[in-house]
Amino acid sequence: MSLRVTQPGVLSLLQDRGRFGRHRLGLTNGGPLDPTAFSWNNRLLQNPPGATCIEISFGGLQLEATAETYICLTGARMSLTVNGSERPGWEVLRVGEGDSIALGFAESGCRAYLGVAGGFDIAPSFGSTATVAREHVGGLRGEKLQAGDELPCRPVTRHRRLYLPEPQRPRYHDSATLRVIPGYQERHFSRLQQRRLYSHTYRVSQQSDRMGYRLEGPAIECGIEGILSEGICHGAIQVPPDGQPIVLLNDRQTIGGYPKIGSALSLDCAQLAQLGPGASVYFTPISQHTAHNALHLAAHYIDATNLAERAG
């Protein structure tokens, strides 16, 4: 069976947790921009933690089920209807053969995840199903979803109807604070320049996408102009000569020659990627110890939170 795409929406991509261990071929990670919402999706569906979901940016996706199965929508708030009647997010829902599933447009946040019981059954390329359109790798054809695409999954007639109670769900605001682990060329940014970054408001620019979020605000000057190209990790904050920071995300190039002042915590990059142009961004420095603890706590929270269940 499958879910058939009837309307692909603005940007809908098949994603698993990402492609790792292939940077030496120049392949980037891909994967969910908001791994928190992605992980909740697979937990609610009792799927393996990295099972393939659809990442829907901004909304508009419509699907038709070709057999009975169970789906779940997490992440940005988007209206969800099945055969025209409103259904809740953050909850496992039954869909039957011929049912049409339609998403509206994001009301808060901008990335939502639609998963299916067992995950979509997609052949991995380079060890992952993550779609990176720039590299033409992953997904069905290395591209975003199109009308007529068949997304294979298995028929399921019984499934626990788990949901995440409202108070436990992530909130999507119109600003984000990025905790920054200072590093890379940090020492080439003067104390004044560092203070400038950590004490001003930046705004998300129009040129923000899966490669990176460009921010606009007081220009940061670096004592050096360029560096020998070197590896760029997820969340790295690159400062090109115009002084406007770019937070590099899942589809970033793997090497680059602009100085970097440090890297944002992945948990906060997930919040950043839920923001649209014009939203406010703040930076605050943290130690690597604090970052390490935050990652463990977040992983534990998703694993250990009790889910609620609907009868039947």
Partner: protein, 225 residues
Amino acid sequence: MELHVAGENALILYLGKETSPAVSARVQAAAGAAEIALGEDLIDLVPSYASLLVIYDALRTDHLSVGRRLRESMATLDAPATGEGRTVTLPVYYDPEVGADLEPLAQSKGLSVDEVIALHSGCEYRVYAIGFAPGFAYLGEVDERIAAPRLATPRQRVPRGAVAIADRQTAIYPAPSPGGWNLIGRCPVRMFDPGAEPPMPVAVGDRVRFEAIGRARFLALGGEV
């Protein structure tokens, strides 16, 4: 050697300050040592001109342990030979038909087209880094007499196989993409083939020679003009 924090699960090792075969060989040796030292805790490595980015699993280990293991393994690293790695010969059809910047480049350097070709194909290059796009290998160093800056306005589309120069680097475009390098020829060998094993004919640390070929051979090898 210097070790710096890069991110929540990444450290970066600097093994020199300049582009040279000796530094590149150290990076290669460090990559091999890091793989052994970190084992299952390693997620990915990005070797580049003079650095090695080490990405580890922060839910299995931490920066203190990774830093200690990297320092220990680097302390016992032997001075590697620069001649290690393979030498790969890649055929190139150098002609204005497929190298729009070949004649302008020759003219601006006061050379003939044949001299530019002889200089480009007359030396051995080293793969210093792979990035920008899958399979895009940065080769160095190009003879100073034909080094040329990037175009002021990048092209919207550079075809697959385009052989190009930017400053003292040269590369072969693995897939059609926008690009600002000076195009001097075309290579019929695919630099990135997802269906092949290995998907790339070269790896960081390998050496590359270019062999000038004619139009007929280029087409026979599967090249497209």
